[in-house]
Symmetry: C2
Subunit: 355 residues, 2 copies
């Protein structure tokens, strides 16, 4: 087993260091190799995803990714900005299935913006298609409009598109995930406006027929954005496209109040995966040793479960994290009166100790 | 002054009836004419937006719109479904500027999903571009893919596009609105992924230079969906495209906990406008006399202010609504212990009495 470690920028290096410590005490046999990505890679090699980094990721069974990005790269041309590394990895590794759990930890219910009764026990799974849609659709660019409201004017455009096999495979992922949970899938679309999402909805219904034991319903994306606020616990598995998934998975994560706790996985059809925290690179607190490493540590658990077939080790990590929370340890982002504030390294050490 | 009244479907007829009562006691001189729209128009004329209805709307200074839609039309082909009426009105009247206030009424703070301290005093304005973007962009449809991940497969596609004049005019609307408020505009984009929204962002910055007294910042749409949950009061005016605006305006409305209170306005460049509640047709409670008419009544206030130049009358309506809330009257959707539950008609009558 080979794991590529890509810490990236900002707090990325600090939180990945703790996750690697956890990985190393598990007594499993694997090889790791670390490489630069994002702004750090741009500084060293002039590109956010150098070929050496990409090749390392391709050759690995799993990638542990920290975070990328910093304000200081805002002025760079788009192709060189840190986020392009993540888009490049998704595309080149074919990581079409993004798993974004939104879980509200019992010990952290108070941290949510929502009233406790609305989020206590929340456990939903957003499955976002990650290599299609308007993210990668061609053609795109700038041109002179030949029709539309202002023919002759300068315009910019992008193409939203989904092909049948792309929708089918993410549908299967969602239905299979629902089978391991509460057997409900909500497909989020905008079929009342978009051709792409009428097509998406039609295929969800078709594929759903192969899963008679899973209940399927459909929701427009605007309504989904509302229902997540109103009654998030009504969802089980939510499946949606790349663009809507970007928005809804972040909304759902923030609803839990503890985005510093939420891992994510992005898988291809060979179960090769990229694992990263749901939060970003937080340049404002980078280097201070105060970032929460738990989302990254829990991403290691997801990695062990989905790509490396080490369910037992995954369970152990999750229990250790829970134990550390129950013991009252908190980084600043989840701290509240009566709990003990710790730094990144202490939190990592505590998880190692609990293991 | 001519006002077209389009009650529509579901609770639309009930809530518009109350709004018309309010309009009639104001002692202003105007003409009204009522027409069918949505499912009701489809039943009677075979089309959700019959030519007679469209012509009436075009000839009016303002349109008071209830709501459209019902599950029973779900199986109709898209072009005949009720929602097409609203897209048709926007397009044919050129209603490019959608104003969606998200206000948390002092008397209703408890109704929010969010903790009271996060929403008390909330007053933000989302300005959504309403005639461009992927909603109307051509080409769109189904075809056989010639490139992409699965060449040869069946695919569906849509085109996102914005031209310079479309972005410029909505930018001016936003900056001017901010001047009448707290002088801050947040432009929401996805410039890190989409050509269309890099263009949007560039133009926002350009136009912003004409408004040195207004502070402009930029936020990615996924982050905006999070910040609305985390700290909604940090926003003043939010301006964004049609698709992102659809999602964020509904999310923000739901955050207030009282979507039954929120009006909206959609204006063209001649200040002709369509006014409607932010909520939908609620077929589940239609005909029961329990719907909240206040969002529609407040839409009349917006109509008087934006299209009919009757600021004083608009203020009077808003004060009357506030008085009725302070007197403890509540429809079911905003009811809480210790307040008096009333029906649609009683609520309308109470506003009339307060006037
Ligand atoms: C950085 C950006 C391109 C990316 C996305 O939009 O997919 C991020 O928001 C995410 O969700 O991983
Ligand atoms: C009914 C639908 C087409 C419409 C939209 O998406 O614009 C609605 O959601 C709205 O926001 O007014």
């Amino acid at each position: 087993m080979k794991i590529a470690i890509l810490p990236g920028d900002g707090i990325g290096t600090e939180i990945v260091a703790e996750a690697v410590k956890v990985l190393n005490v598990l007594d499993l046999s694997f090889e790791t190799e670390t490489a630069l990505v994002g702004g750090a890679a741009y500084e060293a090699h002039g590109h956010p995803l150098p070929e050496s980094t990409l090749n390392l990721a391709k050759a690995a069974d799993a990638v542990l990714f920290g975070a990328v990005g910093d304000w200081k790269y805002d002025k760079l041309e788009r192709a060189l900005r840190p986020e392009q590394a993540i888009l490049g990895l998704r595309k080149n590794l074919g990581l079409f299935a993004n798993f974004r759990p939104a879980i509200c930890y019992e010990q952290l219910t108070h941290a949510s913006s929502l009233k406790p009764e609305l989020v206590a026990g929340l456990d939903i799974l957003i499955i976002r298609e990650l290599t299609g849609d308007i993210y990668f659709g061609q053609p795109r660019g700038r041109r002179t409009a030949v029709d539309g409201l202002f023919p002759g004017a300068e315009e910019a455009f992008d193409t939203m598109r989904y092909s049948r096999p792309e929708v089918e495979r993410i549908a299967h992922v969602a239905f299979q995930a629902a089978r391991r949970r509460n057997k409900r899938v909500t497909s989020v679309d905008k079929a009342n406006v978009l051709e792409t999402f009428q097509f998406w909805k039609d295929i969800m219904i078709e594929v759903g027929q192969q899963y008679p034991d899973v209940a399927l319903d459909h929701m427009y994306v605007d309504n989904a954005a509302m229902q997540l606020v109103k009654a998030p616990k009504k969802f089980d598995v939510v499946v949606t496209g790349n663009m809507f998934g970007d928005i809804l998975s972040d909304e759902a994560a923030m609803l839990t109040g503890s985005i510093g706790m939420l891992p994510s996985a992005s898988l291809n059809d060979r179960n090769q995966g990229l694992y990263e925290p749901s939060h970003g690179s937080a340049p404002d607190i980078a280097g201070q040793g105060v970032a929460n490493p738990l989302a990254t540590i829990l991403s290691v658990a997801m990695m062990l479960r989905y790509s490396l077939n080490q369910t037992e080790a995954a369970d152990r990590i999750e229990s250790a994290v829970s134990a550390v929370l129950s013991a009252g340890l908190r980084t600043g982002d989840i701290w509240s009166e009566g709990t003990k504030r710790v730094g990144t390294r202490e939190m990592g050490d505590a998880v190692v100790a609990a293991l």
